[in-house]
Symmetry: C2
Subunit: 645 residues, 2 copies
């Protein structure tokens, strides 16, 4: 028997968990919903609407990451002129985290520039609070019941209001599912074209420039024709079958097999030539394909995407090279914003003796960013490129097991020299820590900040979702929330965005019909739809539309459902404040129905009101239960009387 | 306990059922597999391959319907010059069937021209044999076991040969799923554009010609602007939501609601104006949209479709009007072949006093075709149009109940004057009967014949599938085969083509995950994928690709599976012998692997061999069991030993 005291304790612990997330979010300029913050701050629900009349700066300073607005049509997106001057700060890595010093003297004194720096001891204490919570019996019961209630409540809403919602949409002029903005919130640049597109491109290059030198081996130049000769193939005969980049039944639960699908015809030479930014051609072919994808997005007008480009951390030169690739090939598109993905493959580099320690990898990843932030004048290309980068992703097979348990006793990155790969949680902490310091440094001088948006909960341990709860602005996948009611409820209360890719999951980890997207959407989690890898998973020219269409068909989603997902995707994205105002409405940053402009989003106000009232209701139980020992009887919107006990 | 004698009896009855189908198929120039015919004809399997070296005429005369090849590029598809002369025959309807007489004297003598004419008494006896069979216990057990075996055998084949199949496809040059031919074997012309296309077209007409007179009411001309004014709407504001032609959750098991989705904005005025061939504009708007769809197919190059146009049977003028619409608006496309759909709505016309009897409806449908066949010179437009028509469909809600039981005691069509609608089986028999006579008449003078391809087994009684087993060349839907093992096994043995539309079913009658397509495909039934109504069901620009993509994703179909379905679709279609040779290979009409040209179909020979051996194996059980009383031990391909008892 669960007692009232148990529930009180559960509610208090949940509230504490949310406050912990809020702390880490604010430190890193990540987002935290103001509604949730309000309920955590005040025990009694205040009936006043969220603060009105705030200017743009107040908004962006309070709870928004600050992204560069895109250049105006008359502006040159590659203009290098506006780099601010050198601040002359020094940066040193200590314990895997970059510290900033005003000058040499301060460095000698070990007095870092006044920025928040993370503290591993506090972090592990915070983390253990959440870890304890997810296995605590009463808390599990509490969350499980609340989630069941959320699902039933939505069913009821659907039965009562489906026709009213559709009526609202029907009378909404000039806006429907086809012309609401959709952002592909999770897509890897190296797989952003579909298999047919890659095939056509390969054939085209062979037809138009077979004698061009495209590689160099032991000082000898190799032409495109020679590349294909050495592979014993004629590109004319090439098909999507022989290209063999599509994930099939063979890849299910085989992430290793999936990864090798990135090699066209199984040949890593072709991956290097066509899908990499660094090669003999300076990544020209890859840039051209990405630009073709971008042109299609621009023509579609309503679709945007956030492709991931890789930084591996093998060398500090990766950053200037990537920036040069971007500028030289003019890869900018108004319909794309970039994310940097860092593969968790330290062990591979270490075993090949490319890196002495994990700390060096972190330094290679982050030091160039600190330098470009302190002295943009001397890093003009990188400074420019960073305007179009809005976040970081952490990627690899989550199902790989790690022997190491991350704690404050773990060896720090500078002394992590073993060939063993650090665990997921270790990667996440050190990426977060450096992004957080970097963001504060950048914000101090008025530059854009970055969101941490790791892959999380695709497979492996559910503790990954605990790490991301503290460190991530939003996550990709989140499938395993299915297995932990406490985390699922926390992700709901904190409205943590989740970019889901059910077609990717269907080929790798979870059959389509078992995907929890529909259930998460119904409960009110902040989900969006994304493609992950069109090259491997999709059949049609419009991968994102294929994703929406299949979800709509298989789960019988309503237009309002689809438009809610599309609205979520824009909110989750790294599009700028200006673009979000244009795509979602002036007040998009306000929570609840007043933040929705149906003329732009095609989401019914009835739906928005339902979502908002439901969230407030859940939060009020939390704050009420924290102080009250009586059984609480609440009247929920719609008139049903319910007792939470 | 089932005895050997029971099985013998079951096998004999199944063989008899197949022979009955063969009889009706040959009478109407429908297709019947030669392999099955061979096993029915000889008790012992002869090992010889199907007859070689037949010329084109022999082939088309023996087992193929004869379709006009498309005009050559330099030829005018609308050339009216080649109409053959008048034969002077007379035609009279008797008992719902059109009889042909050489001249007036023969008519007076009641001696019809020598053609096969159907005999209702025989038909009802044949029908009752099948009806008895589908409820016969031992036969059900026999078929159920064989079907289970077929499914398990395919699973085994898949486990053993999946990689070999894919290897075959990978080494097949220049051909993959994207460039194999696919035919949309079941699509209604009035819904062949997607909702977004229709919306764009409506807006475009309003922008470009708002003041054009598009209708007439009580002698007063009405402009496009006035049409929209009277509906109180501005097309600029129109969205796919307000257009409201998409099937949603509301249409599930509500065919009535689905039918009304054909009315844009719920207004039948707009249906008349945009989606009909007969209206004030002479069907111009509809023709323009159909042509836009055709242009997209032509650009895609590998996609074909067989849209249905309606003939209602209210008046004999419908045919010349339709032919005129086709020619006047130049609707011909090399990527389309036309089917005529006859809605089963006699009751509506009768209650509105538009028809005196069901016989009159049949006469309105078929008499113009007989006349145009006997005297093409005087019906040049219809004669021309019929070159591009390859079959008939029978359409309506199958789940509607009928009180009448069709038998040889049923009132014949000329005295069917009640307001009650005849049952499905009655419609099918009389459509088949007239098509059969017509085909024989046309074949006699070297004109193309028609296939009867009714909607069947979408809902309602499974006896519909019995009617179609006798009368149809192939069917659309066939979902209810799921419920009758005997019919399912018969449809397998006779390789009756089934055009399935799982997305349509998902909105109307059966959830996607429960659709039997995958199971039918595995067992070896001759299934294809089709869209039914892109306007109502699909989201993307490429409806047929959406259909294939969703099936591939949800059911994890392999490339070989997809290409097998695509190959089936071309075989099932009304494309001409010449086109099929071009798209499937010179020997496409041969059964088994020798009929497959992997360079054109991308279907692995391993798969073709498996299908053929499996079918032969099933048929040999049938012929063996018919003569043998010992328990038969058969070694099936792959080496497994199995006993059928």
């Amino acid at each position: 028997q669960i007692t009232v005291e148990d529930y009180e304790q559960a509610a208090k612990s949940l509230a504490k968990a949310l406050m912990i997330r809020e702390k880490y979010a604010r430190l890193a300029y990540h987002r935290f919903p103001r509604t949730t913050a309000r309920y955590l701050g005040h025990r009694r629900v205040d009936a006043a609407p969220p603060e009105e009349g705030q200017g743009h700066i107040a908004i962006t300073q309070s709870c928004f990451a600050d992204f560069h607005p895109p250049p105006l049509p008359q502006e040159d997106p590659y203009c290098l002129d506006d780099a601010p001057p050198n601040l002359g700060y020094l940066v040193r890595m200590q314990g895997g985290i970059l510290f900033v010093y005003d000058n040499k003297k301060m460095l000698e004194r070990q007095e870092p520039h006044s920025l928040p720096y993370p503290d591993l001891e506090t972090y592990t204490v915070d983390m253990s609070h959440i870890l304890a919570l997810i296995t605590d019996g009463p808390t599990k019961t509490y969350c499980h019941r609340r989630l069941n209630f959320l699902e039933s409540k939505f069913s009821l809403h659907e039965m009562l209001n489906e026709m009213s919602e559709f009526k609202e949409l029907k009378s909404n002029p000039h806006r429907d599912f086809y012309n609401v903005r959709k952002v592909d919130t999770h897509i890897h640049a190296a797989a952003c074209m579909n298999q047919k597109h890659l095939l056509r491109f390969i054939k085209h290059t062979y037809q138009t420039e077979p004698d061009r030198a495209v590689a160099e081996k032991r000082g000898r130049k190799i032409t495109l024709r020679q590349v294909f000769d050495s592979l014993h193939m004629d590109p004319y005969d090439l098909t999507v079958d022989s290209l063999d980049v599509h994930a099939g039944r063979q890849t299910f639960h085989r992430f290793d097999k999936f990864n090798s699908k990135y090699n066209p015809v199984g040949a890593s030479e072709l991956r290097d030539l066509y899908l990499k930014t660094e090669n003999y051609l300076g990544g020209e072919y890859f840039a051209r394909m990405v630009k073709e994808v971008a042109r299609e997005l621009e023509e579609s007008k309503y679709q945007y995407s956030e492709p991931r480009l890789s930084i591996y951390g093998r060398s500090p030169e990766e950053w200037p090279n990537l920036a040069r690739w971007f500028i030289q090939h003019k890869v900018y598109s108004p319909n794309m914003r970039w994310i940097i993905q860092v593969p968790r493959i330290y062990d591979i580099f270490r075993s090949k003796k490319l890196l002495p320690s994990f700390g060096k990898m972190l330094e290679n990843i982050f030091l160039p960013l600190f330098e470009a932030t302190i002295n943009p004048q001397d890093h003009q290309e990188l400074h420019l490129f960073l305007k179009y980068v809005t976040g970081f992703d952490s990627v690899d097979d989550e199902s790989k097991h790690s022997d190491h348990m991350f704690s404050d006793k773990s060896p720090s990155p500078d002394i992590w020299t073993s060939e063993q790969n650090p665990p997921y949680s270790y990667y996440l902490y050190y990426m977060y820590a450096n992004i957080m310091v970097l963001n504060n440094l950048r914000r101090e001088r008025g530059l854009s900040t970055f969101l941490f948006r790791p892959h999380c909960g695709e497979a492996g341990s559910i503790t990954h979702l605990v790490s991301a709860f503290l460190t991530a602005d939003n996550i990709s996948h989140g499938l395993l929330l299915k297995k932990s009611p406490v985390l699922q409820y926390l992700y709901y209360l904190a409205q943590i965005p989740i970019a889901m890719s059910p077609l990717s999951n269907n080929s790798l980890f979870l059959e389509y019909s078992k995907n929890p997207l529909r259930e998460f959407l119904h409960k009110g989690l902040h989900v969006s739809l994304s493609t992950d890898d069109p090259m491997q998973f999709h059949y049609t020219k419009e991968a994102l539309m294929e994703e929406y269409a299949i979800a709509a068909q298989v789960w019988k989603l309503s237009t309002c459902d689809l438009c809610e997902i599309a609205r979520n995707s824009v909110l989750q994205s790294g599009l700028s404040h200006q673009e979000k105002q244009k795509f979602l409405g002036q007040n998009y940053y306000k929570e609840g129905p007043e933040g929705n402009d149906i003329r732009k989003t095609n989401v019914a106000q009835i739906r928005m009101a339902f979502r908002y009232e439901t969230l407030c209701n859940e939060l009020s139980f939390l704050s009420d239960a924290m102080k009250s020992e009586e059984i609480t009887i609440q009247v929920v919107p719609g008139g049903q009387v319910e007792s939470i006990f």
